[in-house]
Each structure stands twice: as C-alpha cells, then as structure tokens.
Symmetry: C2
Subunit: 295 residues, 2 copies
C-alpha cells in the first residue's frame, strides 16, 4: 500500500500551492560530512549549495574526455538512454552514466560527491537517476521551469522530498549559454500541477515537458517572491540542489555549448513506491528501483 | 546608378569575411556633442557605448506609459507595423513609433538622443527605422545572431556603414530574460551571407530571420575572437551600437518580459539607394526613404 500522499499532483482541476512542512532540505549535521554548518544552513534556506571547484584540473580533464566518448559512443546508437534534440538530432542527454561508465561510477563514490549527498540527506543514499546534459550551441532548446520532485513523485513513486541533485559543469557556464536558473527558496513550496499523465509520458517529456508543467500564475508568484538566481562558473564548478527547487534554463543561440553531469541521490529511507499519478513507473534509467546503498 | 558595393552579400556561393577599412564607427569629435573622447574611443573600438541612465525617472515613467498604450492600441489592430509572435499571437514589435507617437517623436529629438547620434555619425541624421520590441515572459523567442547593416544594405539599399542604433530599456534587463548580446569589436568585420533574398522576405524575417543569416563558422570565428558581452541594466538604461555589430538575444522562459525602444539613426550623407541584393526596397516603416533632417 502506498503511504499518505503529502504532495498530490495532476489530480485537481486547478493548480494548488502546497507548503512543505514535513521534509527538511537538510537531514544531516556538520559532523556527518564535508559541509559546514553555514553551508547546511544556506542549503536549508535557499535549497542549493554552490561549489567553486569540485574537481581538480586533472580530474576535470579526465571527466571531459569521458563525456566526449559517451556522446559519440557508437555502442549507444539507438539506445533509449540517449535523447536527441527534436530539430537537429544532436544528443541532448545521455542517461544512466553511473552504470554505463565505470569512470563515473567511481567518481560519484568520492567523499566530495557521495559524502555530501549522505550528509545532506542524513542517511545512506543510492542513485535515482544520472545523466549527461548537452546543450549544443546555435539553438540548444530551453528546459522550461519545473520541480524535479513533481515528476519523480507523480511518475516514479518517490514518496518524500529527501533527494538531492548534483549538477557538475563540464563546460564553462556563462550567463548567455543556457545555464541553470533556480528560484532560491522555492523548494519550500510544492506546485501541484493540473493534467493527467499520458501513457509513456517520458518519451516526449524529456524533449519537451508537457504534463507536470507548473502553471504561469504559480511561477509568477514564486518568481516575484523569490527572484531568480542564475549559476555561472568554470568547468568543474558545481551546484547541489534540492529535489523540489523550481528551476529551468533558457535556450542557447551562442556558439558555446553547455554540458553538465547530473546525478540524483535519493535517501535509502525514501525508496520508491507505486507512482502517485501514473499508471506504471518510468523505465529504470529514469527512476531507478535498485536502491542498493552506494558504497 | 548605385555606388560601388563595398559590402557584397547574398551573392556568392560561400560566406566571406570582408574587413571594414573605409567606414569608421565614429565620425564626429568630442566638441560635436555630449560624448567624451573616451566614450568615442570606446565606441570606435568596441562598436557600442552604454548609458547607465538615459532618462530621468519621470521621463521613464511617461515613456513606459506610452509603450503600454501602443502595445494595446486598438487603432493599430491589423496594422502591418505590428508584428506578433508566431505561436502566441502576442505583440513582438511595433514599428514606426517615431511617426505613430508624438511623445516618442519629441523624445528622440532630445540632445541626449539625436545629439549623440549626430556626434557619432558626424553629420545631420534622420530616422531609418524605429520600433518597440516586446519579448514576453514564458517563452519569448530568441533573435538569432545578425548584423543589422547586412539587411539594411541588401534589402534597403543603405550604401555605407554610417548608421547607429539606440536600444533604450523599458523594463529591467536581466541576464536571464533575453537581454541584448553583442560581440565587441565584431563591427569591424562584415559577414557576407549566402542565399538570395526571397520576394517580400521581411514578412517572415521579422518573426524568424532566414535569408541574411550569418553562417555558423563565421559566428564561431567572431565569438572566439571577440567574446560575447551581454547587457543588463535598469529600465532607462541604454546601449548605442554600430550598424554592423554582430548581435542577438536568447529566448526568455522567465516570467519577466523584456521591452525596449529601438531607434536607428542614419547619416543624411548615407541616404538609401536601390537595394544591393533585393528586387525592391522594403516598406517605408522598415527602411525609411524620408531623409529629412531630424531637427
């Protein structure tokens, strides 16, 4: 039986704002890992934590090399874990990189990554989803505003807000090449979206989100209240952000592509149930049901 | 008979880079107007000049009020000078505001506007084109990279690079709501574009530019050489930029619309001839053939 649904979505005729009272953004303490009390307080308040340089130059070069290989790996041609742009057929995302790539499987187990995830979530963790995002230059498409948790809850059956994502820059993030935007503090409000989930929604939603899209009035309210923070930084910089942050990114007409590694850690105490608003769970590479502890 | 074509475009089978040697960006001296030698030197080198606050708060409020009236003026319904977004039917541009609006007709004659244009161009000036641009929130479309001069030369018959544009912000320009980007120094290189001009090209090109679009290799070269400068600032701030600056703007998924007033001043010594790469000139509201001196 599914647990109580604290975050009902895709169920009502009108959007609703649901205020997050049960689930903190930070579950651990300073003694539990690399982050200081000030970092943890900032994460609790804003829903994100930035890291100027998460990787050393040598580690970064190795990671960029691995990304280049994955983006052009002929063994992945036709693989459903590779998502392409609608208009140009360029690769937009490669999923499941923690399973496809031994390099990334090792990297994410580092204390600077898995250790921080354990600290923020206050428990052992596993990987709910991993991917490389690649936004080409000359017209990479936007990612519209959304809460990842809304999708994971509705379509994957993630019961509570006890997951955290790492976005690790593989290229320089400028203001003008489609870098990540977050509304700081928006993670404390859940936007219940309207519209039922179509069957196999993920086949189109990874290219362009339709169901689970927050309404404009809610977005305007959150943007007026919280403002918008845009993240720039060198390759190797990173942002940790809460599962319910309202975030998105603009398109990119510049010649400079933008690529990042994106890893979602979920608490093992927050393992998936049946989806809360979909017929059946999404495929394993989108919402993993293998919650073996990441060691 | 048309003068020698220093900037051939839409004529060759491959793109060409043509280096600007005849036409300076700055034709006047400090004694000719409000800008200092340092401002003029910067304009000559970079192709643009920024103004933190061009309008007083009261002038700005009056201008914003005038924009709001023009965007919703029922008398302009169906007017070809009003261009709408392809997908949402929202107004994207209103042209010819210096003729439609007595308010703006008076405002642009101010020494802070017409005086600067005369100084930069070293002569009397007239208005080649004027418009309000309105980029709505929640999906305003990008303007792809282009040189305005390329279009004015090919389709309007502007012989030389002796025109300057003013972009005056009517709303706050953030990094994230589709603000203007320029490649500093790009005005010194003319990108000769491929492809013939279709008849009545302006009917589609104002919504999405096709002919006269610079090729990706040239854009990459210019971006690598010059970088990209993005302009942010309060409502009332402004950018003067040369007719041949390579510029564009990203789309805007945020709730915050972006609106600006755009006025193109041409030197009376640079009056239009026959188009250099089109059958007939564009309509008067796009490239004016009324070069009475602006007094």
């Amino acid at each position: 039986m599914s647990p109580t649904d604290l975050y009902p979505t895709r169920r009502f005729e009108e959007p609703r704002l649901i205020y997050r009272t049960e689930d903190p953004a930070v579950w651990g303490r300073p003694a539990d890992g690399p982050l200081s009390q000030a970092h943890l307080d900032g994460h609790q308040a804003d829903g994100f934590t930035t890291v100027d340089q998460l990787l050393s130059p040598a580690e970064l070069a190795a990671a960029q090399n691995e990304v280049a290989q994955l983006l052009h790996d002929p063994a992945l041609a036709g693989d459903e874990r590779v998502v392409r742009e609608r208009t140009t057929d360029e690769v937009r995302s490669v999923f499941d990189v923690h399973r496809i790539s031994p390099f990334f499987a090792a990297m994410i187990r580092d204390d600077r990554i898995a250790g921080v995830a354990r600290q923020i979530l206050g428990s052992d963790v596993y990987v709910h989803q991993s991917r490389i995002n690649y936004k080409p230059g000359f017209g990479g498409a936007p990612f519209e505003w959304h809460s990842d948790f809304e999708t994971w809850h509705a379509e994957d059956g993630m019961p509570r807000m006890r997951a955290v994502s790492l976005s690790l820059a593989m290229t320089e993030n400028y203001h003008f090449n489609g870098s990540l935007m977050i509304m700081p503090g928006s993670h404390r409000t859940f936007v219940s979206c309207v519209g039922e989930t179509p069957a196999d929604n993920h086949r189109s939603s990874l290219v362009r989100q339709e169901a689970g899209t927050p309404d404009h009035a809610s977005l305007r309210l959150l943007a007026d209240k919280h403002g918008i923070r845009q993240f720039t930084g060198n390759a190797g910089s990173a942002v940790w952000f809460d599962s319910n942050c309202m975030h998105g990114s603009n398109g990119n007409i510049t010649p400079f592509p933008r690529s990042n590694l994106f890893i979602v850690f979920n608490s093992v105490e927050n393992a998936l149930t049946d989806p809360f608003a979909a017929e059946k769970p999404r495929p394993e590479y989108l919402g993993s049901r293998d919650w073996h502890v990441l060691n």
